[in-house]
């Protein structure tokens, strides 16, 4: 009996022109998303590599480590092409100094606002918008459509248990829609390495998990459609309801929740913090200058040129360290305050957004692709630890890129300096969080998606048991 019902469900969906058309559109879009994603990755990688090489090239031929102008760049993640997340919004370039706070600049959308106008067409977008509509389009009349055609009454004139019927309906429509969708997705996956995206084992696991999340998300909308179909008498009203629900879930709730959180939790602006810092820094600067004047006054009668210079250097180094330490304390304090508030707002916003499965899916996909909000902090963390390594290195080279350097006019002999060897420079590598960490981060959202599935599934089941089949 179950098999028969399942079989009918599969045939009924797959045999239609509607299916052929919509599936064709979805397949083309999915393939397009993979292709465009791969090309995009290629472009970003070239950009990234070009930038790194240029940065090195530009420092070539320098003779003093103190003169180097070193930058690090955020390498593109292979999966960012499919799930762009915030990777286009955050700064990618960081000027590295041995001291001071780092700041990432040049986000892609800031550099090319043209891309920000319509944003990108990525796999995540296809899933959230197009496939959810696809699910609704095939689920909205699952129950009430049969009733309108009279087939529901006819079927139940036979000894058919209702639970089996609705189960077959849910499972059948899921299989009939998901299995065909796997074809373009798998073709897309095969395309990735062929188009030059370096996919290692971890990336494959991530991609598989993204697709799994997508399937769960698809399931949410399908079960929801069947659920609503089992609660309404006419397919036109269930469609209307679903469309309204869709607009809210996909387009409104996620956006509105962020805005509401912005209103609810006040986070001090960057400008305010910058001002605090610069004020403090100016204050310290004045103190330092005074200290220096005093030092000079004290040592003005020291005739030993070299000795004086050495003392001076030492004194100023000390002062610089002192300054750095103080600034660091303040910066950390201010940043921590801001970060705490920002984290609270973020938590609030995301919790609210997760009312919508679309938000859950987006967040899970971004976590898995390492393009979630955590990308920025993990990049900054990597940059900060690199800064420490860099500073140590620079110290070993006795060079300081900040603070005071002496331009000595004079008659000292200029000896021919040696060129620096850039290979000695520590290399910056950015490693995205481990696959296991990424999966761990996405688990709550995956769980939520699963929960939505179960709730709607159960809802559809119960609603159908009470459904008036006449």
């Amino acid at each position: 009996m179950f098999k028969l019902l399942l079989d009918k469900e599969l045939k009924e969906i797959v045999g239609t022109t509607k299916f052929a058309v919509t599936f064709g559109v979805c397949a083309v879009l999915i393939l397009l998303a993979f292709y465009v994603g791969a090309r995009n990755y290629d472009v970003s990688r070239q950009e990234y590599e070009g930038a790194v090489v240029e940065n090195m090239r530009q420092m070539e031929g320098l003779t003093d480590w103190g003169e180097i102008d070193h930058r690090i760049f955020l390498p593109p993640q292979p999966l960012a092409a499919l799930v762009s997340g915030i990777s286009n919004d955050i700064g990618r370039t960081i000027d590295i100094e041995s001291r001071g706070e780092l700041r990432a600049e040049d986000s892609r959308f800031n550099e090319d606002p043209i891309f920000a106008v319509f944003r990108f067409l990525d796999l995540e977008f296809i899933f959230t918008i197009v496939l959810s509509l696809f699910a609704i389009l095939f689920g909205y009349d699952a129950i009430n459509g049969e009733k309108e055609r009279g087939t529901l009454a006819l079927s139940f004139a036979n000894p058919v248990p209702r639970d089996q019927y609705v189960l077959a309906k849910l499972v059948g429509s899921f299989l009939a829609l998901v299995v065909p969708l796997m074809i373009p997705i798998l073709i897309g996956c095969v395309m990735l390495p062929l188009l030059g995206v370096p996919m290692d084992g971890d990336s494959w696991i991530r991609l598989a998990m993204v697709i799994f999340a997508g399937v769960l998300y698809f399931g949410v909308f399908l079960t929801l459609s069947v659920f609503i179909s089992a609660m309404t008498q006419h397919s036109s009203s269930s469609f209307l309801m679903l469309l309204v629900v869709w607009i809210f879930m996909v387009l409104i709730i996620p956006r509105a929740s962020v805005l509401i959180s912005g209103q609810a939790v006040d986070v001090p602006s960057v400008d305010q913090i910058d001002y605090e810092k610069s004020k403090y820094s100016r204050q310290l600067f004045s103190e330092r200058m005074n200290g220096m004047q005093e030092f000079i006054q004290e040592n003005r009668n020291n005739d030993d040129h070299a000795q004086f210079m050495a003392d001076m250097q030492e004194f100023m180094g000390q002062q610089q360290d002192d300054f750095d330490a103080k600034m660091l304390v303040l910066t950390e304090q201010l940043n921590e305050q801001r970060n705490n508030k920002a984290a609270r707002r973020q938590k609030f916003a995301l919790a609210l957004a997760r009312i919508s499965p679309t938000a859950s899916f987006s967040l899970a996909a971004a976590d898995l692709a390492s393009t979630s909000l955590a990308l920025r902090s993990s990049y900054m963390d990597a940059a900060n630890s690199y800064q420490a390594a860099f500073a140590q290195f620079m110290q070993s080279k006795n060079a300081d890129t900040q603070g005071f350097r002496f331009m000595r006019h004079g008659d000292d002999e200029v000896e021919e300096p040696e060129e620096i060897d850039l290979r000695e420079l520590p290399a910056f590598t950015y490693e995205p969080p481990d696959v296991s960490d990424a999966i761990g981060a996405s688990l709550p959202d995956l769980g939520l998606l699963l929960l939505f599935n179960i709730v709607f599934f159960a809802g559809a089941f119960v609603a159908f048991l009470k459904y008036d089949v006449r």
């Binding site: 986000s107 469309l243 962020v258 004045s286 938000a359």
Partner: protein
Amino acid sequence: MFTILVEKELKAILQSPKFVATFGVCSLLILLSVFIGIQEYHASVDQYETATQLVDQSLAEATSFFAMDNTVYRKPSPMQIFVSGVSFDVGRLSKISSREDVKLEQSLYSESPLFAVFRFVDFTFIVQVVLSLFAILFTFDAINGERERGTLKLALSNAIPRGQYLFAKFVGSWLGLTIPLLIPILIGVLLLMVLNVPMTGDDWAKLVALIGVSILYFTFFIALSLLVSSLTKRSSVSFLVLLVVWIMLVLIVPRGATMAAGQLVSVPTVAENESQKDRFRTDQQQLIREWRQEAWKNRFSALEGASREERRAYYDANKDEWDQEDRDVREEMELSVTEFNRKLNEDLRNAKLEQERLAFILSRFSPSSAYQLTAMNLGGTNTSIKKRYEDQMFAYRESFSSYLKTKQEEERAERRRQARQSASGGRMIMFLGSGGEAVDTSDMPKFVDPVESLSAVLKPSMIDFGLLSVFTVLAFAGAFVAFIRYDVR
């Protein structure tokens, strides 16, 4: 006859329960978007004001013209309530200094990526995505639905010209859907006044134009639905076709066009650009260094074998002149670096403009992007916002640097005087910017936000406006032809 038909159409729409539900949702969304937009606008104005105040304060507290940093901010415009466009993607501020280029940085999205995760929902978005769907929802079965119910045969069994019937259908649905939508829009406009949004006369004109374009865009979808409905026999088919067309027009074509343009026109990357700039500067600095080594060698060459005191005296006598020489050379170099950077930036900007032009041309195949582009244009939040601000900031930088230069000149002279007085002989170590007193910055030039004149805004909008009109007329004409031949059975 015509009025009877229009009246029937109005009643059919307004009385359907579907209408109440969807209209409620649309109104809610429009009002929500305007309300949140206003709140967000106020918040960003606050932020802007705090930020500029802080800059002013830090300028006022500055004790020297040497360590003087200036930052200018982009002022939020009330129009971004309706069209946020790229205003959150483009940097909010630029540092102004003679050493650094003008560059907008710290966009809202890069500073608070939380907002970037789902982006904002503004009035334009609601119109573009939700209202177009709303239009389809009410007109997808305009013709074939009547056929299915048998009312088409019944109606046309009377002496009604088909053209008139279709036109009445169009006018009726248009009135039935547009007039109700004007209510939340007008309430939204009222909110602007109640919540004290400072709108100038030009802003009002732009807003009216924006609402006009929104209605035109909405009208296009009604005409399109009529076309598809009179091309198909069954309403289920026409709905499916319209949904696919909607996905294509609203979601896919605009994005696809941008990506295609990105592939077709290559633009040097920022990194390449930056490094080219740096390379030029390094080269120039190297030249200067070499020149100076040479110069110092020459300057002292006359004193070969002279005593320390003689050298000192010689040095003191000539110092000012030499310094002046050094400075002149340095300034010359700075000038050439600035010129080079400007040229490079312009090249980059031109390439980007070219890419952008192509992207926009391609994307205008979809009325949806035509609408979005013209809305952003009217709201002043289109991609050229960056160019406008950077141009203005560049001009400001010029006046600011020249101001700074005169001031620094004065300060230097002053310091030197002081230094001469205090340090009689001994080593000359000059510390600039270490004073105690705040300097007077009251006559510093102020940054003025670029203002687009109304005509400059409206002119480019005309293209999109025309394009939307053409799309609408074409769709209606198509519907007309299809309906004349429609098989009413």
